[in-house]
């Protein structure tokens, strides 16, 4: 039996594939990619369970809120500040700010205490992020319902063309989960490295393209707490933070350019790249 969770096996130390650089594309350095950028001016939406703005890990405030719920009269959008129902969104926010401390965070709350309309509220959250000019969108969740395949695929394509970069966590279970399997998103699974939040790998055999820290990660949680957690949910925000930093340095990059930059900076690239 495979000893690793689904989608993460390719990032195990003995399975990692060394990439052959393609000059000059793969000669990009971190100095060029983000330099001194802290993500300032970059709008980052977190589609999740809400964000606890008061948590020490979140740091500077939240720039905007929208909570989407499915009621008897249809979808409701509430832009009043909200709390985090679980701690999951706060964990993502903390990781993103640890990498890009000055990015603007927007909390798009679609996970609450209700199960009904999960796919619909999730799709509405993505739509909100696209229509409100978000530059990056952290999606540490997804749906397995095939009847949302088309709707989410259209939204992911719209995001691609409008330069809203969707960074998605692959589901750890071996089930197809959307939108993480689309080519129009940056999909992320876990590796166990903890020393450097900026360390990630590229997988030359997608659908999951990038591996970032997601195993035994110390993360912010509900009610000001901290926990040690494992899941691809916590790998995606590392890449979201890095994408925000790169966009801070190079506003207006497209998704295909961003993937090229990320590939060049991945730790399994066959040359050193600092400076």
């Amino acid at each position: 039996m495979d000893e690793r969770p689904a989608w993460s096996a390719q990032f195990a130390p003995d399975a990692l594939r060394t990439l052959t650089p393609v000059p000059p594309l793969d000669e990009i350095t971190t100095g060029w990619a983000w330099g001194g950028s802290t993500g300032a001016g970059v709008k980052v939406a977190i589609i999740d369970s809400g964000i606890d703005a008061g948590h020490e890990a979140v740091g500077r405030g939240i720039s905007g809120y929208v909570a989407i719920t499915d009621g008897p009269l249809g979808l409701l959008q509430d832009t009043e500040p909200h709390e985090d129902s679980y701690g999951h969104g706060t964990a993502c926010a903390g990781i993103i700010r640890s990498v890009a401390p000055d990015c603007e965070l927007y909390s798009v709350k679609v996970l609450g205490q209700r199960l009904t309309g999960r796919g619909t509220t999730f799709a509405a959250g993505l739509q909100w992020a696209i229509e409100n000019g978000m530059h990056v969108c952290n999606v540490s969740m997804g749906t397995t319902k095939k009847n949302f395949f088309g709707l989410l695929h259209n939204l992911a394509d719209r995001a691609y063309f409008q330069k809203t970069m969707l960074v998605t966590a692959a589901n750890n279970m071996p089930v197809p989960s959307f939108p993480s399997l689309y080519a129009s998103v940056i999909s992320v699974a876990s590796h166990e490295g903890l020393d450097d939040p900026h360390l990630f790998y590229y997988n030359p055999e997608p659908p999951v393209e990038f591996g970032a820290p997601g195993i035994d990660v110390r993360v912010a949680w509900a009610d000001g707490g901290w926990i040690t957690a494992t899941g691809n949910s916590f790998a995606a925000p590392h890449i979201t933070g890095i994408v925000a930093k790169i966009l801070g340095q190079h506003p207006g990059l497209t998704l295909f350019q961003m993937k090229t930059v990320l590939r060049a900076l991945s730790a399994n690239m066959g040359h050193a790249k600092t400076g």
Partner: protein
């Protein structure tokens, strides 16, 4: 309107009902699903396993907790109406106490796994104030580490399989997560089978019009619908093959324990051979899009 007129009207209505049912059964996926459910229920019923559905789930959870050494384990099913998680299986020193609890969504790792569909492990749960602390405190048991994985049934999360307090390691590893995922799949299959049997009972009950007060024309329509479905099933080769196999297994099982063991060994050997054969589909579960 005279008696004859009413009868004629009833007849017309009955015909409409029947043709409506036929259309539904013929055109919608509903027919396919129903057929699958009935086939499954019939073969399970034929083998007539002595193990009840709840005992099977309990065994799956027990095995999971011994393969991944854990002090306690639970299997929750989601009550969609109440937006709560209901204990289906609870194992461990406080199992009796926790079994009576229902957990509203918005609490703890199990709730998060249920709403997000993502497996999750945490290793210092006591420092997290929201790990269903009300339940933990009221039964005097606060876990240190938790691993939860979703149960999928027809693309939907229907429950959560959870292990508490890893023994022999400070926390649940990503390998533990993958292993528990396999047990979750087994549990989902067991749930699927029990629901298939439930469907059969419901369908037969409806078709025979056992409930009093069912209008005659409706009963006739339903009976006709059930008849046409069973006619079609009898013609279905796959259903016949499944039934024949199930009947053989039943016959051998009844012959005695040794015969049962031999039959099982032969079938397991054959299934093992089938599993080891190279497969065309990739192992990522993407066959549906290929």
């Amino acid at each position: 309107m005279g008696r004859e007129g009413r009868q004629r009207e009833d007849l017309v209505r009955a015909r409409e009902e029947i043709s409506g049912l036929r259309r539904r059964l013929a055109q919608e996926r509903f027919a396919e699903e129903l057929k699958d459910a009935l086939t499954l229920a019939a073969s399970v019923g034929e083998i007539s396993s002595p193990i009840s559905h709840s005992r099977l789930l309990e065994m799956i959870v027990q095995t999971a907790a011994s393969v991944i050494p854990s002090r306690a384990a639970s299997l929750f099913l989601i009550d969609e109406e109440a937006e709560e998680l209901v204990f289906e299986v609870a194992l461990g020193s406080k199992a009796e106490e926790v079994r009576k609890f229902r957990i509203p969504l918005g609490h703890g790792i199990a709730g998060l796994v249920a709403v997000s569909g993502q497996p999750m492990a945490i290793s210092d749960a006591r420092s997290d104030p929201r790990q269903a602390a009300d339940i933990a405190r009221s039964v005097g048991y606060e876990p240190e580490s938790i691993l939860g994985v979703p149960l999928f049934y027809e693309e939907e999360v229907v429950g959560v399989l959870e292990l508490l307090d890893r023994e022999g390691a400070p926390s649940y590893s990503s390998a533990d997560m993958a292993t528990l995922g396999l047990f979750a799949n087994q549990a989902a299959v067991a749930i699927e089978q029990s629901r298939a049997r439930g469907n059969l009972a419901a369908l037969l009950g409806e078709a025979l019009g056992t409930a009093g007060g069912v209008p005659d024309h409706r009963r006739e329509g339903l009976a006709e619908g059930a008849r046409s479905l069973s006619d079609r099933m009898e013609e279905d080769a796959a259903y016949q093959r499944a039934l024949e196999l199930a009947a053989l297994v039943r016959e051998i099982s009844r012959a005695g324990e040794e015969e049962h063991a031999a039959c099982r060994a032969i079938l397991e050997g054959f299934a093992g051979y089938l599993r080891s054969r190279p497969q065309d589909r990739d192992d990522l579960g993407l066959g549906d899009f290929g």
